[in-house]
Symmetry: C2
Subunit: 430 residues, 2 copies
């Protein structure tokens, strides 16, 4: 501790939606936080880009500064909270404060998914701590439960809804029968989607979060680029309707499985049975289903974003650090130091839902069945819908490797009787 | 640390279902546990009642002893795991080891719900720790997330399915249309209910768990005797059917609400809307819904009992203790030291479902409505079912205090036109 008396002093790096929420809660829940952390918390400096900016909660102007060096090198600060977002500047700030033995809390998923290993190593060198509960699942306690509570178990599988924007869009499409474009516009109007929704709808946000969860759950370093991803832009209202008829919901799932020969990590629209706990997670909520060899199935559910839920998670990390601040550091799990063996998507084993627009003539099904048979794809269900120009075949396969399925798909596309393959969606059964 | 080298030495008190599971996992997941705890764990002694007893997992016979003193006073043991159950002997063992500065992990909900405060005080005196994650929700990480992750938030409400036996029975009644007695017999056959199911079906088990959750979430000492409880024995297949028709499921819920004038804590069969995440928690699973002022709604879901899930939670506590074992203790939240202000059930505000068997004659409804009006009970829905001797009125009230409702109920029972009130069940809407 610096000469700051009994308080733990906090430096806020960034003060937008989450930062001003943190400031608000530190004032409002002072007594509770003191009890939880073992001493009072004080926000002593706040680094911002501009002094005057709209913020959801008012902050003490006298703490604001645009002088990064003054904040980063303030010897009185014990814990830094990094909320500036982005990668490069956040990384340089983080390495700077960790290098001087200060503790770091961040909500920055890209930073951790890209550079988690580097930050953990720097922290280990200087005896400081890095915590990032808010980087996945917003306010949902997840990282620490995986790290400690499941420390005695072998996590086998993670399956989660970790992006609220896409879940909101898919829920709306499902409830209202609207198209992707309509639902996206509605989400943007209500502030549930950004003006540029790319990182959300293309699955990049979910991929970063899955990389972090994999690293912790499987105790090995996974980066976001190792996660296969597909977005939700291709999901059609008809697919949601077909899914419901067959007893499924469609969700953008982040799925990771630990197998003997490596880790399978992927983000894609997925059909899951309506009775699965994840199927009824609607709107902008997040939920993460974890299967441990001994503990069985667990699920963590809550708000995956938002100022105060995320600020609560940030403060949970601060509490954890401050409780243990005066003690020498313990050895941390070294999950970032081993690079993970992440398998190619080609080796992933899943079931597939597939829609084919076909010519309505005898022998078509036989040709299609032949292609599947040649590629070791067996079918669980096949339904013909519509007639004439609208003839469609809706099918679900049994488990098959991605490689074999994509080979069959390519062959099908080249058949004269197949006009179009408007939809392919993976199916998870448990 | 004693002179035991680098290992953390564990003394197991009791070695039945959970204890032998702990022994099994310590051997099987040695590498993972060492990584999580920062050093290897070793079970060095096991206190049992009888050396030869059937156990779900084999244990090393050379560690077993029936000599309590030899185990309790073994100076080489760092952490004791109490799994003998019951209250008096467990309490005396716990106080004994805490008094000598040893750490304690327990899965014993009655012990914590009755004597948590005493154990925490003894631990504070001697600088040791008490942990009890496995006492509520089996393998679900819950206690530590509430303590630390939500340390910066004000928990407003807890609503949980915390007893697997009753949830299994109610799920079976609902799925099969069977009676309580039939479903209980089925549960007993499959080992989901004890031969003497009293503590489960009467709500005592859930009340102990709710007392523990209240103490942590509301930061104040609540004991099991302060929790109002009603069991599930009176729930009829017809009630489950009526509930479903009206869009509800019936669950045994543990409900606690923190209000300005005190805490409301109660366990009773409850109707909740089918779209509530708790409604689809089926079989012997547990789920706890927590509402924080800032974080919003969270839910924790998983296996509430069973050898390996519970053993995993016990080991999570051991990991947490061993990670911090060489450090001086921090001040812990003092939630046990203030006695809670728990309100009388008379002041609880809920909605009620009520079934009246009545004479099928004109003016009956007017008389009943008059009684409700006199007691400030207003009705949300009233449906008449059946005719003649089978005439029944099924109603749901708006929110009303328990006091007013019970007064109205008493008055109704005294009316000549009311033959019987076969069912009264509370209704939660959110």
């Amino acid at each position: 501790m610096a000469d700051s008396g009994e308080h733990a002093n906090i430096g806020l790096l960034g003060c937008g939606t989450i930062g001003s929420g943190v400031f608000h809660l530190v004032g409002k829940n002072e007594r509770l936080l003191t009890m939880a952390a073992g001493r009072p918390l004080r926000i002593s400096r706040i680094l911002v880009k501009q002094i005057d900016e709209p913020r959801p909660f008012p902050v003490d102007r006298s703490l604001l500064t645009t002088d990064a060096t003054a904040v980063l090198q303030d010897p009185g600060i014990d814990v830094f909270i990094e909320l500036i977002g982005g990668i490069e500047q956040a990384r340089s700030f983080a390495l700077d404060v960790l290098g001087r033995g200060k503790h770091l809390v961040t909500a920055n998923k890209e930073l951790i998914a890209c550079h988690g290993r580097e930050l953990m190593e720097e922290a280990a060198r200087s005896g400081s701590q890095v915590r990032f509960e808010a980087s996945v699942g917003g306010g949902i306690p997840l990282i620490r439960p995986l790290e400690e509570s499941l420390g005695g178990d072998r996590v086998q599988k993670i399956m989660g809804i970790v992006n609220g924007t896409t879940n909101y869009i898919l829920t709306r499409m499902s409830d209202e029968g609207s198209t992707y474009a309509e639902a996206l516009a509605g989400a943007q109007e209500l502030g549930f989607a950004e003006a540029d929704p790319g990182a959300d709808v293309e699955g990049a946000d979910a991929a970063s979060k899955l990389a972090i969860l994999c690293s912790i759950a499987f105790n090995t370093g996974v980066t976001d680029t190792q996660v296969y991803r597909e977005g939700i832009q291709g999901v059609r209202p008809e697919d949601l309707e077909n899914a419901r008829e067959m007893g499924y919901a469609i969700k953008l799932l982040a799925v990771a499985i630990s197998e003997d020969d490596g880790i399978s990590a992927r983000v894609h629209p997925t059909m899951i049975p309506l009775e699965h706990p994840l199927a009824s997670v609607s709107g902008n909520f997040n939920a993460i289903f974890v299967t441990g060899e001994s503990v069985g199935d667990l699920m963590f559910y809550g708000q995956g974003a938002g100022s105060l839920p995320t600020a609560t998670a940030v403060l949970g990390d601060v509490v954890n650090i401050v409780r243990n601040m005066d003690r020498p550091p313990t050895s941390r799990r070294s999950y970032w130091s081993r690079a993970a063996n992440v398998k190619s998507i080609d080796d992933a084993l899943t079931r597939f839902y597939m829609v084919l627009r076909v010519l309505d003539r005898p022998g078509v099904l036989a040709q299609i069945a032949g292609v599947f048979g040649d590629n070791q794809v067996s079918l669980e269900s096949v339904v013909q819908k519509g007639f004439g120009d609208n003839a469609q075949i809706v099918m679900i396969t049994h488990q098959v490797t991605e490689r074999n399925f994509q080979e069959a798909r390519k062959r099908l596309e080249s058949l004269d009787v197949v006009l179009e393959i408007p939809s392919v969606i993976r199916v998870e059964s448990e």
